[in-house]
């Protein structure tokens, strides 16, 4: 099965479970978790079920397109279900079957793995899912987001699409994976992988990036003061990506590093708090819709 069909299959599967199909969020980020579709929407009491593909940028993992396993940008298929349904594990296993993975022919396990992202004040408990010894999915019950307790709890399922595809397509080099019949990942991403790696490690203008970080940070704070949560959060994402670029280039000294991380964290926390307050002010609209629906 090519990656395109994997995506279609997963979208169909989770759509059938009542998930909204969203598109990738248009700000650079390191993981699908950082999309506001996950990070902000998993806060507060409103139910939220969503699935989307997220291109995720990890500048430090760039390898000029030469390493068969590492990418500057890989793709995650992200699912959030809030509150986590009782049969969430079964739903997940069904999705693997839909991808053509017959559990009777493999060894599938849930191995303890807890997730923590201090920059976002986020933490969860769960597993990495092993398919014949390979980690193909991160499965997390959010316990805390933006320093706030996650209530109700969301289940987050993150498939590493290239990982899973390398198994399904039995390829050892990520660039040989078929995105669709006749078109490989290499065809699409070799050049950007090379260029982004070169840019990140050699050519980026660090002074400009430092300036951008400060500008983004200031703007995030200003938007926050105005109660504009979503714009503020976009700028936090930009801060985070800018920081990652600088960090990958190795121009952030140790002492500065902690400072930068805590600055982003403080912003993220404030935004989380304000988001919940704003939703409350609006009367938690999605909560109402659901109640009305169940009354009908």
């Amino acid at each position: 099965m090519n990656i395109q069909n994997m995506i279609l299959t997963l979208q169909k599967h989770w759509s059938d479970q009542g998930c909204l199909l969203m598109q990738a969020y248009d700000v650079e980020k390191g993981a699908g978790t950082m999309s506001p579709m996950t990070l902000l929407r998993s806060l507060g009491p409103e139910p939220w079920n969503v699935a989307y593909v997220e291109p995720s940028r990890r500048p430090a993992d760039g390898r000029y397109g030469e390493n068969p396993n590492r990418l500057y940008q890989h793709h995650q298929f992200q699912v959030i279900m809030k509150p986590s349904p009782d049969n969430i594990q079964e739903l997940y296993l069904e999705s693997l079957k839909a991808l053509g993975i017959d559990p009777l022919k493999h060894d599938i396990r849930f191995v303890e793995d807890n997730w923590e992202n201090p920059t976002l004040g986020a933490a969860g408990l769960g597993w990495e899912v092993w398919l014949d010894g390979m980690e193909i999915t991160q499965f997390t019950y959010f316990q805390q987001i933006g320093g706030l307790e996650a209530k109700p709890v969301s289940a987050e399922i993150t498939y590493g699409l290239e990982r899973l595809a390398s198994y399904i397509q039995d390829k050892e080099n990520v660039f040989e994976l078929e995105w669709t019949d006749g078109v490989t990942v290499g065809d699409i991403f070799s050049q950007p992988e090379y260029e982004h790696s070169k840019y990140t490690f050699e050519s980026s203008d660090s002074d400009m990036l430092f300036d951008l970080f400060s500008i983004y940070e200031k703007e995030a704070g200003r938007a926050m003061e105005l109660g504009l949560v979503f714009p503020a959060y976009d700028y936090v994402l930009k801060c985070s990506h800018t920081f990652n670029l600088l960090d990958a280039k190795g121009v952030i000294s140790v002492t500065e590093r902690t400072g930068y991380i805590s600055r982003v964290r403080n912003l993220a926390r404030k935004i989380a708090k304000t988001y919940v307050e704003e939703r409350e002010r609006l009367g938690f609209p999605m909560l109402k819709e659901k109640e009305e629906a169940s009354n009908e």
């Binding site: 349904p85 009777l104 493999h106 599938i108 408990l125 398919l131 010894g133 390979m134 019950y141 316990q143």
Partner: protein
């Protein structure tokens, strides 16, 4: 008639590392619970798989035993009124006991007759009590708990089903919205949902659904299958007990299989290959009978034998990617010379207030050099010490250690050899992390020992300087283990160096560098207490009684092996009749010496011969005694002190120490104080509980 009781808590996959402790708790808490309910039982069996915790109780009676009790009420005279009728007091008493006045009889107690009632408490039916097991389930402690869905409960993982059976009857209760029933779940893929018709049939029914609930049985199955495979192939499979345990807790139905990897990877140091297999993949590595690492691995599938080849191929592929990474790292690391790695250490934080690893290394070099200077080592050894200290952390920035942190030092040694460092230095780099666990191997080389001591000392003193002091279970930098390691190394090497010298050297360096946020005195006090506790722990581990430990540590830890010698000698002396006179004499001196601070004697103030005699003896033995201390000759030292016993006894017989005249008194106390100083240099003899009299 007795019945079997079964409780099963169905969970989403439990963390393997929590299960052993959970089972111990489950058994203990079940026992306590049954004892509280006064329910006797024959056996309690606990079972578990990744998806369930189970307890099965056999031989429970149908009801609690009845209780017969005699209740004593008011005196007979107030039980009847003037008309001879029952008073309110009597009626009330009977009622309070759940009886009526007809049940009352009288019995005399110390001359007075009292109202009595024979009370009979009928035992409750067992099955009516069993729903209280809910509390046992909820009382289990796990290192980490979580919430799920919209539930309030915090538990190790979401609870998905519950079984509570009394024979074939369901005991109704619910936890967090899950109601008890008879239904259990078999293996996720091979089994199905199934009813347990009777508690007795639990294991059998689960086995049909490809679940082996008994942990020991599952473990034995794995061990036996590995053993058979090893036999067939002529292999030595490295079955690590911890790993076997973990794997047992990761599967419900174990099937052992093996896979291979390319022999090309064997160029990578085997420690890295083994770590990759064990830590990352939970595979058992394979050696030949001759001990050579072979390019195979043994693993356990959670499932049956069908399509096992497919599973093996998948696992091979994963391992291949991992080993390719390891080989890539190994080759890359060899391209970065040591000096280049050292530069990167200045970008790695050791501790926010204590600076980077590079800063730490600088301090370690200074400390290590100070130690070699103190020990007057030869030039070559000194050079080895310095070089080891300078580069001991370089491997922290290698890809390999980044990937496999537990290989720190081990990779350092290998790369150091490749980069042409001296053999001793290479060995010492690895050794400076020793002991790696409690009572682990200690360094052999001088350089390894000195750098290990310096590195650990720097961590301990640094942390104490900024107020990071271990308390309770909080010891993030492993300071306790480091301190014990230092003491063990000093003991092993028996160098002429006192622990106190080492600690104060490190502390004054930190003060000079401005790395303290408390007063030097406070830090020194805390360090003293910290090392004291570790030293007494070590001595007691070696069988030294606590009183003797306190006696020899009264003046600090000092020279570690000598302190141990002294302890052993005192332990022998405490039952030695011949030593009685000595310790009594010296003990009396110690007691009286506490009354003064004077440390000088004026011979002109002596009034009798015994004073002269004692002072002269003291002056005579003093150099001999101190020489014995310097040479760490405990026997000689104590023997020499012993020669003072007779003149001391004579002195006390003839001399009134606490004389009216202040000058005389202070002079006599001064003499005793001089002697006391010498005694304390050996031990506080009064801390010993002497046993000769017994």
């Amino acid at each position: 008639m007795s019945n079997t009781v079964l409780f099963e808590v169905g969970l989403e996959e439990l963390p393997a590392r929590f299960i052993d402790d959970a089972l111990i708790q489950l058994e203990e808490k079940t026992k306590e619970w049954l004892d509280d309910l006064r329910l006797p039982y024959e056996t309690i069996a606990t079972m578990s798989t990744p998806r369930r915790l189970t307890v099965k109780i056999e031989g429970l009676p149908e009801k609690q035993p009845d209780i017969e009790e005699v209740a004593k009420g008011p005196a007979k005279k107030i039980a009847f009124d003037e008309q001879g009728k029952w008073t309110k007091a009597a009626i009330g008493f009977a009622k309070g006991q759940g009886k009526s006045v007809e049940d009352i009889y009288f019995k005399e107690l110390k001359g007075t007759e009292y109202v009595h009632i024979n009370k009979f408490i009928e035992g409750e039916a067992t099955k009516n009590l069993l729903d209280q097991f809910k509390d046992v389930i909820l009382s289990l402690n796990f290192p980490k708990n979580m919430r799920w869905g919209d539930k309030q409960l915090r538990y190790v993982r979401p609870i998905r089903w519950l079984i509570a059976l009394y024979g074939d009857e369901v005991i109704p209760f619910s936890i967090s919205g899950v109601q008890t029933g008879k239904t259990t779940f078999g293996h996720r893929f091979l089994g199905k949902q199934v009813a347990v018709d009777h508690a007795d049939n639990y294991e059998k029914i689960l086995k049909e659904q490809f679940v082996i609930a008994d942990v020991m049985l599952r473990k034995e199955m794995i061990a036996a299958q590995i053993e058979k495979l090893a036999q067939d192939k002529g292999w030595e499979v490295l079955v690590d007990e911890d790993l076997l345990n973990e794997v047992t807790h990761l599967v419900e139905y174990p099937t052992v299989f093996y896979g291979a990897y390319s022999a090309d990877f064997l160029v990578v140091p085997e420690e890295a290959l083994i770590t990759s297999m064990k830590e990352h993949q939970r595979y058992f590595p394979v050696r030949s009978r001759e001990g050579e690492l072979l390019p195979y691995f043994v693993a356990v599938r959670n499932g049956d034998e069908k399509h096992l080849d497919n599973v093996a191929r998948g696992n091979e592929k994963v391992l291949k990617a991992r080993l390719a990474d390891a080989r890539f790292f190994y080759e890359e690391d060899q391209k970065a010379p040591i000096e280049q790695s050292l530069e990167k250490l200045s970008r790695m934080v050791f501790q926010e207030d204590l600076g980077t690893i590079a800063d730490k290394v600088q301090r370690t070099v200074k400390l290590a050099d100070a130690v070699s200077e103190h020990l007057q080592l030869d030039k070559t050894t000194k050079k080895h010490v310095t070089r080891t200290a300078e580069i001991c952390k370089f491997d922290l920035v290698t890809h390999m250690v980044d990937e496999f942190p537990e290989l720190q030092g081990i990779m350092g040694e290998k790369y150091a050899r490749i980069f042409g460092e001296d053999d001793v230095v290479a060995t010492a780099i690895n050794e400076h992390y020793m002991p790696r666990q409690a009572n682990g191997m200690l360094p052999e080389t001088v350089a390894g020992t000195i750098v290990s001591i310096a590195d650990k000392l720097d961590t301990i003193v640094g942390c104490f300087s900024i107020g990071i002091i271990p308390s309770g279970s909080q010891d993030p930098y492993g300071l306790r283990r480091s301190a014990i390691g230092i003491l063990q190394m000093l003991d092993k090497q028996a160098w002429d160096i006192r622990l106190e010298t080492l600690v104060s050297t490190a502390l004054s360096m930190n003060v000079k560098l401005g790395l303290t946020n408390r007063t030097e005195k406070e830090i020194a006090e805390d360090l003293k207490e910290f090392f004291h506790i570790r030293a007494s722990y070590l001595l007691r581990e070696e069988g030294v009684a606590s009183d003797i430990v306190e006696a020899v540590l009264a003046e600090g830890i000092q020279h570690v092996p000598f302190t141990k010698e002294k302890a052993k000698l005192l332990a022998a002396k405490r039952n030695d009749e011949a030593f009685k006179s000595t310790h009594e004499a010296l003990g009396r001196v110690l007691n009286l010496a506490k009354k003064t601070n004077v440390e000088k004697v004026d011979k002109a103030l002596f009034e009798n011969e015994t004073e002269h005699d004692l002072f002269e003896k003291y002056q005579n033995i003093s150099p001999v005694y101190e020489d014995a201390l310097l040479k760490h000759d405990a026997v000689k030292a104590l023997e020499t002190l012993g020669t003072l016993a007779e003149p001391i006894h004579a002195f006390f017989d003839q001399t009134m120490v606490m004389a009216e005249d202040e000058q005389l008194r202070e002079n006599r106390l001064g003499l005793l104080n001089l002697i006391a100083k010498e005694v304390y240099a050996f031990a506080d003899l009064n801390a010993v509980q002497w046993k000769q009299q017994f």
